[in-house]
Symmetry: C2
């Protein structure tokens, strides 16, 4: 296997920094200081045109003056100097660079051209680089810090990949405050050379990294992202935040790193397909990621709640329920054991509510251990473990009563030993999260954080952190995804498309569309074209009444409500009337006599091409509800059977596919095959721009495509 370009970039033995000086106001200086101060033990070469030393290190005027070709070049220079400097360093043999400098693709065409030139130079000299317009990297294993801020040097287990530099640098104090520590963090910038997927692949294999988080404004190569993530996510959790999917989000992101954003619903589907857990805030991304990185995986959905306050206990239970977990009553035996430790009126049922109780050891260690031992639960949330935080809250009022003992001494005297509590998740292989309102001003909180137990500042969040683990349980249980082989192109289908294009059509007509679909095994209505009353009668007799009568011409994309369709025609008399009327309204267009399929379960399948993702398949509720309810889901083609099945389970109305109000269960494998076929057709026929099969009706168990629209595009890449 080819070595990932990030390996050397994150683990250099020698680093040259251009853009650092002896002025502490400069960003480059701050970044060089981070190299020097945060434990890097390799060789460090400041590049400076005039200074003899920079930050106490011998400085060099150019690449050529260096005693060796450094493994890594860090550039924080004016935009115009980037290309010359990269050329200099490729000249001496440096193979990795991080380009912090901005002013490229994100600022417009001129910058984009410069970025292209940069890519060319790199390609030519086999240099791999991060950026431009990024904010550096962190590798706590080395340690190496190339950001502007001070790093927590204790190695962590959370890997971060970010299209925003802020989330790798400006949040370092935020993360420290919350006890969250990176393994590696990578700010990707414009991704001109090394991209997010390279980073994902690297962290997927990095042993220090136990969970991966991604901040995403746009994915360039969707298919590679999906396939890379699918390899990682069954064993290592990947979480992502995506904010580019709304109008202003997309505009803001474009001006930021020049990333092209896609609609939110598309990314929602892509993340599901990839096995990536979606987060909706940077806070959740960090905190849930940290929970995955530090806790044993969840093995079931049974949650225990231990609290000393009813409100938070209720909130935790409620949020666990919403996330599909259960907070079930403990067995009588377990309750009896717990009851020995708690006040008489306190509840032992789950939540265990100790009420106002001063013995923190019972809350933090004894009851949790009883519960984890019992085998009755898969996860645990504890609320209310507090030490100095509580004391600080009351000390001011009682200091006189405390006989003048200073606050710090009281805190020290009352300090609790949480060693056993912190060891519980490891000991029992069961994850635990903590809810506390006291933050770092409480010594218990700090002990938990230092012991790699995630602490959340509200009960809802502690529950949601656990629910995030539950999401990964579902991903671990996914059936293996085998990339499907594409079928052969049907020459007959190619002929249909070519004939239509040659005839100047922008779409296939309904009959052509269904013929094409049928060639790929998609079940469609029995139907015949009729150009005369005789043909209509003959067709209807062959198909059998009742029938539908429709105008059939490629320009008619939607027929409803325009007199171009008549349904439920039951006899020859009605047929002739319908034929005449439809033919007249359709200005003499061909008429389609079609088997009448009725059923109250109407579905839709379709295909749209999205930049970066190629053809994507849609499935959802069809008929009049498609627009009104927007109960749809997307995946990128091609679809494996597992992926198609998952689409069927995505929709809110999925109950309709089971046996439902006297109707038989849908043939889900037939439905899945339609979705796979739609994706395959798009991949095999690049001239097809869009597919819309709506409705697909479930009369009995079997789906039938009742109407079909296939839009063509003259030039498709």
């Amino acid at each position: 296997m080819k070595e990932n370009p990030l390996h050397l970039l994150l683990n250099p033995q020698s680093i040259a920094v251009a853009g650092a000086s002896n002025n502490p106001q400069k960003m480059g200086t701050l970044q060089a200081l981070s190299v020097i101060k945060d434990g890097f033990t390799g060789r460090f070469y400041p590049i400076h045109p005039t200074e003899k030393t920079v930050l106490g290190h011998k400085a060099y005027p150019s690449a050529q003056a260096l005693p060796e070709a450094p493994d890594l070049l860090l550039l924080i220079v004016p935009t115009s100097l980037v290309i010359p400097m990269v050329e200099d360093f490729t000249g001496i043999g440096t193979k990795r660079a991080i380009i912090i400098s901005a002013g490229f693709r994100e600022v417009g065409p001129e910058g984009a051209a410069m970025e292209e030139r940069l890519k060319e130079i790199a390609r030519l000299h086999k240099m791999r680089f991060l950026g431009p317009n990024c904010m550096g990297i962190v590798n706590t294993a080395l340690p190496l810090n190339l950001t502007i801020g001070k790093m927590d040097k204790r190695p962590g287990s959370l890997g971060m990949i970010s299209q925003s530099g802020t989330y790798v640098t400006q949040t370092l104090p935020y993360l420290h405050e919350r006890g969250i520590r990176f393994s590696k963090a990578i700010s990707c910038g414009n991704e001109a050379n090394i991209d997010m997927v390279d980073a994902l692949e690297y962290l997927g294999e990095d042993e220090q990294t136990k969970a991966i988080i991604m901040y995403i404004e746009g994915i360039k190569d969707g298919r590679r992202f999906i396939e890379t993530a699918q390899k990682i996510t069954p064993h290592k959790p990947v979480l992502a935040q995506y904010v580019g999917g709304s109008a202003s989000g997309a505009r803001a992101g474009l001006s930021h790193t020049g990333s092209l954003a896609g609609p939110d619903f598309l990314y929602e589907g892509i993340f599901r397909q990839a096995g990536v857990i979606r987060c909706h805030s940077i806070e959740d991304l960090y905190a849930h990621g940290w929970t995955h990185a530090t806790q044993p995986p969840l093995r079931g959905n049974r949650l225990a709640v231990v609290t000393n306050s009813g409100g938070p206990g209720t909130a935790i239970s409620h949020n666990a329920d919403l996330g599909g977990m259960t907070v079930s009553r403990f067995s009588d035996a377990l309750q009896a054991k717990i009851r020995e430790l708690i006040p008489p009126h306190a509840s032992a049922a789950n939540p265990v509510d100790l009420t106002y109780h001063r013995d923190m050891n019972v809350l933090s260690t004894q009851i949790p251990e009883m519960i984890l031992q019992s085998g009755e639960v898969d996860g645990l949330v504890v609320h209310g473990s507090v030490g100095s935080g509580f004391l600080k809250m009351v000390y001011d009022h009682m200091k006189e009563m405390a006989g003048g003992i200073p606050e710090e001494d009281v805190v020290r005297q009352l300090a609790q030993d949480l060693t056993e509590a912190i060891a519980l998740p490891g000991k029992y292989g069961i994850p635990m999260t903590i809810s506390s309102f006291f933050g770092r001003l409480d010594d218990n909180t700090v002990k938990y954080m230092d012991g790699d137990i995630p602490v959340f500042d509200s009960p809802e969040k502690a529950a949601r952190g656990m629910v995030s683990l539950f999401s990964h349980l579902k991903i671990r249980k996914r059936k293996p995804i085998v990339k499907p082989a594409l079928p052969e192109v049907s020459p007959e289908a190619s002929r249909i498309v070519k004939t239509a294009l040659d005839a100047g059509q922008n779409a296939l007509d309904e009959r052509q569309a269904k013929q094409l679909l049928a060639l790929y095994g998609v079940p469609t209505t029995r139907e015949e074209i009729a150009r005369s009353e005789d043909e209509a009668l003959k067709a209807a007799n062959a198909i059998g009444y009742p029938v539908a009568v429709k105008a059939c011409f490629w320009e008619i994309m939607h027929k409803t409500g325009k007199g171009l369709i008549e349904l439920n025609i039951r006899n020859s008399e009605a047929l002739l009337a319908a034929f005449r009327s439809v033919r007249a309204t359709g200005n003499g267009a061909d008429v389609l006599i079609q088997e009448m399929v009725s059923g109250s379960r109407e579905l839709v399948a379709g295909m749209t091409r999205f930049p970066g993702f190629g053809p994507c398949v849609l499935f959802g509720l069809g008929g009049v509800f498609t627009e009104a309810l927007k109960d749809t889901t997307f995946r990128a083609a091609p679809l494996s059977g597992v992926e198609a099945d998952e689409m069927l389970n995505d929709i809110r109305a999925k109950e309709l596919l089971g046996p439902f109000r006297g109707m038989p269960a849908a043939d889900v494998s037939a439905l899945a095959s339609i979705l796979q076929a739609v994706g395959n057709i798009a991949l095999l026929h690049p001239e097809i721009a869009e597919i819309d099969l709506n409705p697909i009706i479930l009369a009995g168990p079997s789906p039938v495509v009742v109407d079909a629209l296939i839009v063509l595009a003259r030039v498709i890449q």
Copy 2:
């Protein structure tokens, strides 16, 4: 108007505390200390059986020994002492009490009996009390603190009503950390006497309180809650968190304050009806409440975003979009003005992204003021204003370069003046929220907090705080709600119900149900009962083909898929066949010949009675989709026209009610009238337990009730 019982309770001139001692380990002592230390200037009387002084104050052995009847009694005594002490104090004329002691309704039948006795004594002596099982109150205006913790004495503007004591006491340091200050906070406990609605009414009229937040585990008197809130919410925001609506949430809550929780969907509807903004975490409740309490109301949905980092700017925009706000491009003129202050490649469009920029005055004050002056926006979110927080992040690395100047001195030297920035919302009447990752370790954050500008620790949250203000704009714009007068009882309807009950029916049959509905103006299908083939033919001829043929007997509650219904009968031959078949399958039951109403838009209306709320009306998507999509909404009856209209707008599929895919717009006033009628029928006929009108079909614009089920209950209160 009657004085609210909380007025005296929150503003006493004299307080007796029973349960405090000279032992600082006791909760009662901590609460007494809060009275003494946190600024209460009235008279304070510790009650203690043996001590001569408590906390330096003369102690009294009993109520009778006191020099006066104190305005307020605070009880933190063992459960068994509560009733005797309350009796003693009512005996000397004390009219208000706060009962912290637990062990009442929340622990079971014995406690419940004691609570009833307590209520009786209070009623007898006109004492009003809070609790039992509560945690006290805070009134920063007096000031008075009856909780166990130290209170921020600077008066705030946020009123809190809580069914969990923790959220009034244990979160005081949490709130201080986030700059949030109460006006008044009330822990309600078991609500044996004074309840949440009393508190809501009080804070609604309290001038110090600019916004009200409520933590709710169950509402006892739903109708009073709705009516009280409806009076307050058009001018003062009320926000609520409800966590009792899931299985474990309900169980946890019940064991906590003994509150009876209702299903989540019911509370969702009730909050909408009341104009209450729902929050889904205690964090949002506090932070959004604080935003409402401190910021001018939002007057439109146009948001400006100013940032020095792209990621957060994108996240803010995305979340504003999701919440229905727009982040639109500024006018060219405004952009030109902004461009003069920012680097050449920075974006002036909105979001304004200054990129890495050191002049915080531009970010915090100058650009925000330009934007607010422009008249182009209704709200502003600023990300990235930071002072000492940034310095602390880099100081360690650069302290040698700083020439040994201590961190504090550098912080002081670089301190920014945010006076003008903080004054902006007041000056322009436009709300502002701040996003910062640095928390209280940053002096800018502290300045904002002290200046009553809400600071959020992530960009998404700052945007969601603004979106919460947008929710209140919609509530302010609600049409006035006039409580509707109930119609007269229809004697004919009463007769139908009585006849059915006398006949031993547990439900009306379909024909009876529709007759009853029609008496209250509900449009139903034309239909006739047929007991013979002749009658069937006659009925069908009178109604006109096509018709539906249904078995009609009260025990048949659902007909689909059992051979008890045949649809689309088009002629006499088919009618006779259908009649025979349905009559046979129905074991000779009456047969209903019914006008055939077809249409793809099927709705449902219904009624269920919920404890605490009485009859509640349901509206939603009908037919097979009712169960599969659960696109429904609830309100408590009776419904005003405005409330019924709002229900129609609640469903996700509301587009279906407009002109839709060739179908005419629904007659929404006819639909609203059906909902009002359903509520009125339930109020006028207490024997009716449930109503289920499904489907209501829109063939054209007018809704018709096609099937109806009315369930009876022998004993209804």
